[in-house]
């Protein structure tokens, strides 16, 4: 049995009718000058002539100075590591020549400096002498370790900066 009311657009039981009328609702338009008012407040980017070639180009464009800083520190760390590795590889020959050089020049100079410090500022001089005598090679080892550790730290920093920020995630946009 068919109820004549089934086709009425406002029958509360008809899902299809409700769909049809909801779909028939149009969109509103803002006033005609809306675009111009918006555009007057928009900062248009400076034209970009050509895309940067390297993989890091987008990151560099977005955050130029941090990337530059991390790149320089990374380069410094890499070069210091290379130097450390080279010294380790050529330690024997370097040690021999360094020993000769030290005996000839460095030791007398260092002794002169220590003597000068000791006479000029006795407390500082004695601390330096004590540190030099008791520390031995430890400070040099620590310096090399820090320089070497700078490599992964710099690379991590570079990766963090180059990584796109999450500001655009629709879940956090407001």
């Amino acid at each position: 049995m068919t109820d004549n009311r089934n086709n009425h657009p406002l029958d509360p039981m008809e899902d299809q009718v409700l769909d049809q009328y909801l779909a028939s609702l149009g969109r509103y338009a803002p006033s005609p000058a809306f675009d111009d008012r918006v555009m007057a407040r928009v900062r248009i980017n400076a034209p970009v002539p050509a895309p940067a070639p390297s993989f890091a180009a987008p990151a560099v464009r977005r955050r130029r100075w941090p990337v530059l800083a991390y790149s320089l520190s990374g380069a410094a760390a890499v070069s210091s590591t290379a130097l450390t590795a080279w010294v380790a590889a050529n330690f024997q020959s370097l040690a021999a020549s360094a020993a000769a050089g030290l005996i000839a020049v460095a030791v007398p100079s260092w002794q002169a400096v220590l003597a000068w410090i000791t006479t000029t500022v006795p407390s500082v001089g004695s601390a330096l002498v004590t540190g030099a005598l008791t520390g031995g090679l430890t400070p040099w080892i620590w310096s090399a370790a820090i320089l070497t550790a700078a490599v992964p730290v710099s690379l991590i920093g570079f990766w963090l900066v180059a990584r796109a920020p999450n500001r655009m995630n629709p879940h956090v946009a407001r």
Partner: protein, 198 residues
């Protein structure tokens, strides 16, 4: 020179805008001004306020294109910002009824026509047009009586034709909640529109 954006995706238009192409900004504005304005208007039900909020939405979005991530839908992003702007205002404001007429500042017939609600053209007679307008008005008023969350869901789903997943993303709600809201909103709409049939 007007660039041709036919068949160009939102992501590509954004890319061009980032490259400094002013026409790309205007294209984004052209694509989304009606959907965004309609959503906000239906949410806040005040034309002047809706224009202000839509303007704020576009200024915010177009000035932040550099931070847009193309893996997300542009529409989700802009609707989300528009909805948030509406909700923020609704929390502070008691609302009035919705007018189907053009903008308050529309003085000429052209401007009134350009700004009024676009009911679908089905070659109706004047009497049918009046009936359709009355029906449209009744439906709009019924939508206006829904809770803001339900209203946003109904507008995005049935007027903007957005999939459930995108609505969930826009409204920051679980998918199941969106489905529940739409189901309840439809039931409320049926109840609200039912008496008109008598």
């Amino acid at each position: 020179m007007q660039a041709d954006f036919a068949g160009v995706t939102d992501q590509e238009v954004v890319q061009r805008a980032r490259g400094g192409q002013e026409s790309a900004y205007r294209e984004l504005l052209h694509r989304y001004q009606r959907p965004v304005f309609s959503l906000i208007y239906r949410m806040v039900r005040d034309r002047e306020l809706a224009e202000d909020l839509a303007q704020e939405t576009f200024v915010k979005v177009l000035n932040a294109l550099d931070s847009y991530r193309p893996e997300f839908k542009f529409s989700s992003w802009i609707f989300k910002i528009a909805n948030n702007a509406s909700i923020d205002h609704l929390r502070r404001r008691q609302l009035d009824t919705l007018s189907l007429d053009g903008a308050p500042g529309a003085t000429s017939p052209d401007r009134v026509e350009a700004t009024q609600l676009q009911l679908s053209d089905k070659g109706e007679t004047p009497l049918q047009e009046v009936e359709a307008r009355e029906l449209g008005s009744a439906i709009e008023q019924a939508i206006g009586k829904l809770r803001p969350e339900y209203r946003a869901c109904i507008v995005l789903r049935h007027i903007e034709d957005r999939p459930y997943g995108e609505i969930a993303e826009i409204l920051d709600l679980p998918l199941g909640t969106v489905k529940t809201y739409i189901h309840r909103a439809r039931a409320e709409l049926k109840d609200l529109l039912g008496p008109l049939r008598e």
